[in-house]
């Protein structure tokens, strides 16, 4: 019959080993998460940058495209109420966009070697004299917000939202 002290020692050894194993598993899991998150976040930044660079390559406003500037600046620019709506964007393709504000309300799922990423864009006028706050009326500054999400980058139950921003100045063209 096994002595009581040996049983106790064995149980204590297994308990200590179990704790070490749990810690080691947690560390391995953390390492894998960091590895995957780092790789995916790199893709998030690339996607955000590419949308911003693409929008920057377009005209500042549909009014200024291949034409002389409007006689009244900034009043002659397209009013924000005329920017594309979500319903209009559903019928358009990315390759149809010709001006900066064409990206407003645009959303798409982009497939990459790292999986699918959900992109959402908002374009609006900002006031340079009021800390670049969002305004409805025309100014010479437009801001683009690009949000990127991935099913594999989660903060709790929801996918984490990554936002990249860029402010464009009409006079810095």
């Amino acid at each position: 019959m096994i002595g009581f002290s040996e049983v106790l020692q064995t149980m204590a050894a297994m308990l200590i080993f179990s704790m070490i194993l749990i810690n080691a598993n947690y560390m391995i899991q953390r390492n894998s998460t960091m590895q995957i998150e780092g790789e995916l976040e790199q893709e998030v930044i690339s996607l955000g940058q590419e949308i911003i660079e693409e929008a920057r390559a377009k005209s500042f406003d549909i009014i200024t495209q291949h034409k002389m500037p409007p006689t009244i600046i900034p009043g002659g620019f397209t009013h924000s109420s005329l920017f594309p709506t979500e319903e209009e964007q559903e019928l358009r393709k990315r390759s149809d966009f010709t001006a900066f504000e064409d990206y407003h309300n645009w959303s798409e799922i982009i497939t990459t070697p790292h999986g699918d990423f959900s992109i959402g864009v908002e374009v609006y006028y900002v006031d340079d004299e009021n800390n670049f706050a969002k305004v409805e009326t025309q100014t010479t500054f437009k801001k683009i917000d690009v949000t990127v999400k991935s099913e594999f980058l989660r903060g709790g139950d929801e996918p984490r939202t990554y936002q990249l921003e860029f402010i464009r100045n009409y006079y810095a063209e």
């Binding site: 019959m1 096994i2 080691a24 560390m27 590895q35 893709e43 693409e54 390559a57 990315r94 149809d96």
Partner: protein, 225 residues
């Protein structure tokens, strides 16, 4: 023989085996993370150079780069899958920037697909960046070649006729102007030199890091087809 001691020895043996296995896994996980971070750093370094080079293609002092003989816009003159070549004229000093007669440099990025560079990872190739200074007759004045040997396995460039299009164009050559390209997508992959195995009997796998980005250089939008 005391059955209690024998049982304890057996359990101790199992625990020691478990600790050895656990150490192996922890060590592998740490090595994998380290290699992965090294790869990502390599990718970031190359991506920084590409971001600077490709975004500024066609830039010239107060103008777009042009063919000195015809005066036409000449931004890119080579558009292949593993090779891209373009002109740009970036100045650093006030004196350089004031000199409107400066001749643009020709930048080439090319993956040397033929030559293996590593005995441990046969996929690794040299990524070469060449900066060439030409005279007005297109003769080479000087050439600065930088070989990047940090585990690049893929350098793939896709070219698009329309910004935002999903259909890339193929069959573009080298040596003449490529006026139809408006956007390009670069895919870069770096792999580790060594394999990481999850089991002692396993052959293992190379740790990889992939970077992909579409570039929309402003000066490509100024070209006529």
């Amino acid at each position: 023989m005391n059955l209690g001691i024998v049982t304890s020895y057996i359990i101790a043996g199992v625990i020691i085996l478990g600790i050895v296995m656990m150490n192996f896994r922890v060590q592998n996980s740490g090595a994998e993370l380290t290699l992965s971070q090294m790869n990502r750093q390599y990718v970031t370094d190359i991506a920084d150079m590409l971001n600077d080079d490709l975004s500024n293609m066609g830039y010239n002092v107060n103008d777009v780069t042009r063919n000195p003989e015809t005066g036409d816009i000449r931004v890119m003159d080579c558009a292949q899958v593993n090779r891209i070549r373009f002109f740009r004229n970036l100045c650093e000093t006030d004196e350089e920037c004031a000199d409107e007669t400066r001749i643009p440099e020709r930048i080439e990025w090319r993956l040397l697909t033929e030559d293996e560079i590593s005995t441990t990872n046969p996929n690794q190739r040299t990524l070469q960046r060449t900066v060439t200074v030409l005279d007005e007759e297109n003769n080479v004045v000087s050439e600065d070649i930088s070989d990047i040997n940090i585990g690049v396995t893929t350098f793939d460039v896709q070219y698009y006729e329309t910004v935002g299009s999903n259909t890339n164009i193929t069959g573009l050559g080298c040596g003449s102007n490529v006026p139809s390209v408006r956007q390009l997508k670069v895919t870069l992959e770096v792999q580790s030199r060594e394999r990481i195995a999850h089991r002692a009997s396993d052959e293992g796998r190379f740790i990889r890091s992939v970077w992909e980005k579409r570039f929309t250089p402003t000066n490509l939008q100024l070209q006529n087809n």
